[in-house]
Structure formats: structure tokens, C-alpha cells
């Protein structure tokens, strides 16, 4: 799974500092992390693309992708499996 890598990217892009370490697979992201606004979502997607070498289409992104750390990592896993 890509939980650790996705967590690191979230921590870097959102400047979460030590708060990053408390993120677990079922931790809520969108709506729970105040730093995660719409521009931040765009930056997180860009960082995921550059890190993993994936291309994300607009219509693949929805609020549910960013629901939890686990859902975001699962999304990355799905893209890498394409």
C-alpha cells in the first residue's frame, strides 16, 4: 500500500509538521484538515502525479477520493495498476 508515501506528500504539501504523524488509514481528510482547501487539493494532486508518475483526469477526482487517507492511497494504487 502507498499509505506512508501519500501521508508524506500530504504532510509536505500542506505543511502539517508533526500533525502528519497522527494520520491513519481511516483519518478523515476533506473537511477535517483545515489546510485542505480546493487549491491545496490541486497541489496535492500535482504532487502525487509528480511523485508516482501518474496522470489524473478531472473527472476522476471527487470529494470521496479525499475522504480519508486510505481512500486517497487506494486511488493512487488504482492509478498505478492501470
Amino acid at each position: 500500500m502507498y499509505l506512508e508515501e501519500v501521508k508524506n506528500i500530504l504532510g509536505d504539501v500542506l505543511s502539517l509538521g508533526d500533525a502528519k504523524n497522527s494520520l491513519k488509514e481511516n483519518s478523515a481528510l476533506l473537511g477535517s484538515i483545515p489546510e485542505l482547501d480546493s487549491m491545496a487539493v490541486v497541489n496535492v494532486i500535482a504532487a502525487l502525479e509528480e511523485h508516482f508518475g501518474i496522470v489524473v483526469e478531472d473527472d476522476e477526482i471527487s470529494a470521496s477520493t479525499f475522504e480519508t487517507l486510505g481512500s486517497l492511497a487506494a486511488f493512487v494504487a488504482g492509478k498505478l495498476a492501470e
Binding site: I45, H51, G53, V55, S62, A63
Partner: protein, 291 residues
């Protein structure tokens, strides 16, 4: 650290081209020890501005080590002629050829390229077609995939739509790509992007920009010391090495200075880059002997 000799002042000037003038800043090599030269290839948009301080620091260090550095604002960028909407990938490569010629005439030494982000891809692409011999290439955090790079730019326009429950997705990046293909210029984050430039960027892929006739030093900035090269980077590294690219990768932990909200510096990258510059000319001499 050893004290470096006092730097000569940078020389600003305008280089005339068939299409207006390009603003240039030349850092002459420290007196009495010219070892080579570097042509800097800047990144795109705001990244160009955010990186200025780091680039100036690095250019001064190169100059102190005996390298003349030419920093050139490409057509439509910085203080050069033209609007961003006039820029094209091919014209940028022609600009680089002019800069290369200028350096060659001024110093009579082999030219190395040094590119940051999208400028790294431009440097690679230019090197492949250059009529001048390129002695070596330094890549700082190269953009690897033009398609995702363009999508990221386009996405700046649709940030708010994207999380909107999937119903109103009008003007998504796909629609904007279609508009570019139809010949429309789009304004993104304050820059007018001409369709030809956007489509040229869209088709870039580092994997296929093979440059096998000179050493390539790739510096990748990571956020913590224990982080390896990204999976995306590793794929390009492996493809290049399979094709015989003389590649040297350097992983440097520090801030992504080209993107940070406030202007930031990365002293670790400066020292890592300067330490390979000391070898630049000798490495390429070895490489050319082997040929």
C-alpha cells in the same frame, strides 16, 4: 569553507535576435581561471520568479569556480521582448542556440546547460538538436512528463469545480485542452498560453528525450534525508541508463524553492551542485576520450 575570490560584477545586456531582444545577465568567470561555461535555462511562470535568488547564488558560485554563466530570459519571459503569448517551444530553442553562440564566442570554451523544472526539459530537448557541442547538462528537479505538467497548469483554473460533486464540470482540463487544440490562447494564473506552446509541452516526455553524448547530472530535491528518488523519477533513470545515458543522480533534501510560498533557499543544493562543477570539465574530457 575556503574563501572564494571576490566575484566580478554580473554584466546585464540585451541580446539582439530576429524577434526582438533578450535580457541577459552574464556572470564572468573569476579572473584568470576560465574552465568552461554554463547556459542557464529557466523554468516557466512563477517558478522562474521564485527561483531567481537560488539561481543568482548558484551562478556566483559557478563563476567563482571559473565558469562563465549566461542567464537569459527567453522570448516573452522576464525582461525580454514579447508577451508570454508570443512564446513557442521552437523559438525558445532558437534563443538558447543564440545564447550558446554568444558564450562560445565570448569564452571560447565548451558550454554546459543547466536547466530547472520545465527548463530542464527544454535544455535536454535543445541539446539533442544543438549544432554546438554540449559539454554536460545539469538538471535541477526536472519536470518529467509534459502532459501532467500542462494538466497541473490548466487545473489552476478549475480548482473549485473539481470537488463539486461531479455535476458541474464544465471547463475542465479536457475542455481546455480541446480549446487549445482549436487554436485558442488561454490565460492561466496570469499568463497567456499560446496553443502551440501548450501542445508542445503536452507532448514532452523525459523518457524519450535521450541525450547520450554528454554526462547528465540530475539533482532531485526531496523533503527529508531518508526519502529516495520518486517512483516517477526512477522510471526515467532506468530508461535513460538502458539507453546508455551517462547519468549521475544526486538526491538533496531541502525545500522546493521554486514553489514555496515565500522565497526560500536551499544551501544543500548549491553546495552539491558546486561540488560536481569542480569535475564538470574533467568528466566530459574523459567521456570524449572514450568515444
Amino acid at each position: 569553507m575556503n574563501p572564494l575570490p571576490g566575484p566580478l560584477p554580473a554584466e546585464p545586456f540585451f541580446l539582439k535576435t530576429g524577434l526582438g531582444e533578450r535580457f541577459c545577465l552574464f556572470y564572468p568567470p573569476a579572473a584568470g581561471k576560465c574552465r568552461g561555461s554554463l547556459l542557464y535555462v529557466h523554468p516557466f511562470g512563477d517558478e522562474m520568479n521564485k527561483a531567481r535568488r537560488m539561481v543568482a547564488h548558484q551562478a556566483r558560485q559557478f563563476a567563482a569556480l571559473g565558469f562563465g554563466v549566461l542567464q537569459m530570459d527567453l522570448l516573452g519571459c522576464g525582461d525580454s521582448s514579447g508577451e508570454f503569448g508570443d512564446a513557442s517551444w521552437e523559438q525558445w530553442k532558437e534563443d538558447l542556440a543564440l545564447g550558446n553562440k554568444w558564450l562560445q564566442e565570448r569564452l571560447g570554451k565548451p558550454v554546459n546547460l543547466w536547466g530547472l523544472r520545465l527548463g530542464a526539459l527544454l535544455a535536454l530537448d535543445y541539446a539533442r538538436s544543438s549544432t554546438y557541442k554540449i559539454d554536460g547538462i545539469i538538471l535541477w528537479q526536472p519536470v518529467l512528463n509534459g502532459t501532467s505538467y500542462l494538466t497541473q497548469l490548466l487545473r489552476l483554473r478549475v480548482a473549485n469545480d473539481m470537488l463539486g460533486d461531479g455535476k458541474e464540470k464544465n471547463g475542465g482540463t479536457q475542455a481546455m485542452r480541446e480549446a487549445l487544440k482549436a487554436g485558442d490562447t488561454l490565460e492561466i494564473a496570469g499568463y497567456d498560453i499560446a496553443p502551440a506552446l501548450a501542445l508542445a509541452i503536452d507532448s514532452l516526455d523525459a523518457t524519450s528525450l535521450l541525450m547520450t553524448t554528454c554526462p547528465i547530472h540530475w539533482f532531485e530535491v526531496v523533503s527529508a534525508a531518508d526519502r529516495p528518488m520518486t517512483p516517477a523519477g526512477l522510471r526515467v533513470v532506468s530508461a535513460w541508463e538502458k539507453q546508455g545515458v551517462d547519468l549521475h543522480t544526486h538526491i538533496v533534501p531541502c525545500l522546493p524553492f521554486w514553489a514555496t510560498q515565500e522565497i526560500s533557499e536551499c544551501p544543500e543544493l548549491l553546495s552539491a551542485t558546486s561540488s560536481i562543477a569542480a569535475d564538470l570539465s574533467s568528466i566530459s574530457r574523459m567521456a570524449s576520450h572514450e568515444l
